[in-house]
Subunit: 278 residues, 2 copies
């Protein structure tokens, strides 16, 4: 029924509770129809909301936003960052890409390097990959024993709940692409010499583990889909729709925070007099 | 003579060697006529150059750019960051605002906290205030003895020369506004309740030291105007001209670096075959 159609991105893209089957989630779907926001207006509104969040932190506010981007290679974690978060300007925005852990990082529990990059008050943080890699690539390639990674889902939920309590609004996006779309995008990189630096044969190797990654993602999405920090599934075969959808999510999230510019008490008359030309 | 008119931002805004008198530099001047770049094209070109810089670092390149922004309160350090550096998107951009040093920072030499924020390879870094505060506010308010700050000009020159040797291209911009323009901008903040959070009465107090700041800036500009890391003086009474000018400087600097996408040797045929549908 038309009246059941979700009206918000937070409803439309929210992963339902229960078992997850990626095969039943359409990477080309459009669970929410796009509205034609003028890109410039949209960017200005996002930038304004982000400035309010930053302003709040200058008077002691603790709130911040963490956008977690996960998805298969070529799903568009970088593209979303540029198109959506780029609108907010570099002040008050913090981007972190998590690569294979360094030797130092491997000496510590898996959340150690993550905690160090949690955005501070007033910041919109972006994680391009995240602690979820520790139950994804780690699980697919048996990098730690199952007894160890099996405990991590609960650790992640506890970690995220603590962040939320500390004022972090977490937006976890799974950028969902099809196996065919990944092939097209890898071929496109191969056919554009300016993109060869992004091409690693290991991406093709990893593609060979597609099924194992699907299973690992299904487990992570299902077991870490909490009320405190829910998962959103973003159909990402169409880049424009993907960017629009994540932009809407970020926009709605910031709007729901009811961000107001602080109104410190200023004695305007006296201050104005102090600024009179001598 | 018309033929002597500088054609590049790097020539037009470059501070000449020798004694500096801010009174003889026009904060409303236009030493280089603006060209009408379409803002979107300009942003795309900057973003592309910045991506090349980043790409270079993924194959071992050490080069990076550091944009140092200095100027009186309200000169537009934040505005330049948003309008110019915002065009580059958050990936590969690092913004640092230097406030009054923390207790920990004060336990260390003044360059300690600066060194920790120098952009890594591939990054365009922005310093909103910088080590120059250690010969500006420090000198104006006698925060350390003269015997100490007098030595800092040479320390700064040595520090910057070392950075340049290590692959950092430094663009130091003094955003030059007039005393009247500052008054107008402070009044505008006072008259816009959404901007009250940015208003601090201490800004009016500091304005009382305008002359002392001018002297301190003149010394810093003169003594640290090296070939390795020259100063540029940006007329900043007009915000649009200021943003355009710094954008041109950044653009020319990146262009002069002759940035090329790395071309790793790929066996395209073989890789393409590996991507054939099974």
């Amino acid at each position: 029924m038309a009246s059941d159609t979700p009206k918000t991105a937070r409803a439309a893209f929210r992963l339902l509770a229960g078992p997850v089957s990626l095969a039943h989630l359409d990477p080309g779907g459009r669970p929410l129809p796009t509205k034609k926001d003028k890109p410039k207006t949209k960017a200005k509104v996002l930038a304004d909301l982000q400035e309010r969040l930053w302003a709040e932190s200058t008077v002691g506010g603790r709130r911040r936003v963490l956008l977690v981007l996960q998805g298969m290679d070529t799903a568009g974690k970088g593209g979303v960052t540029e198109h959506v978060v780029g609108a907010c300007g570099p002040i008050g925005v913090q981007y972190t890409a998590f690569k294979a852990p360094t030797d130092e990082e491997q000496q510590h529990p898996f959340l150690w390097r993550i905690e160090r990059k949690v955005p501070g008050p007033g910041i919109v943080g972006v994680f391009d990959r995240s602690h979820y890699e520790d139950v994804l690539i780690v699980r697919v390639h048996d990098l730690v024993p199952e007894s160890e990674w099996q405990g991590r889902y609960d650790e992640i939920n506890a970690f995220e709940a603590k962040l939320v309590q500390d004022g972090v609004t977490i937006i976890k996006c799974f950028l969902h692409i099809s196996y065919d779309t990944q092939r097209e995008r890898l071929l496109a990189r191969l056919n554009d010499p300016d993109k060869h630096w992004k091409f690693h044969e290991s991406d093709i190797d990893e593609r060979g583990y597609w099924g194992a990654y699907v299973a690992a993602y299904e487990a992570a999405l299902e077991r870490c889909n909490t009320d405190a920090a829910p998962w959103y599934v973003i159909p990402s075969d169409d880049k424009d729709y993907r960017n629009w959808a994540v932009g809407r999510l970020l926009h709605e999230t910031l709007e729901a925070m009811d961000l107001q510019y602080p109104r410190p008490k200023l004695d305007r008359d006296r201050l104005q007099r102090r600024l009179e030309p001598e």
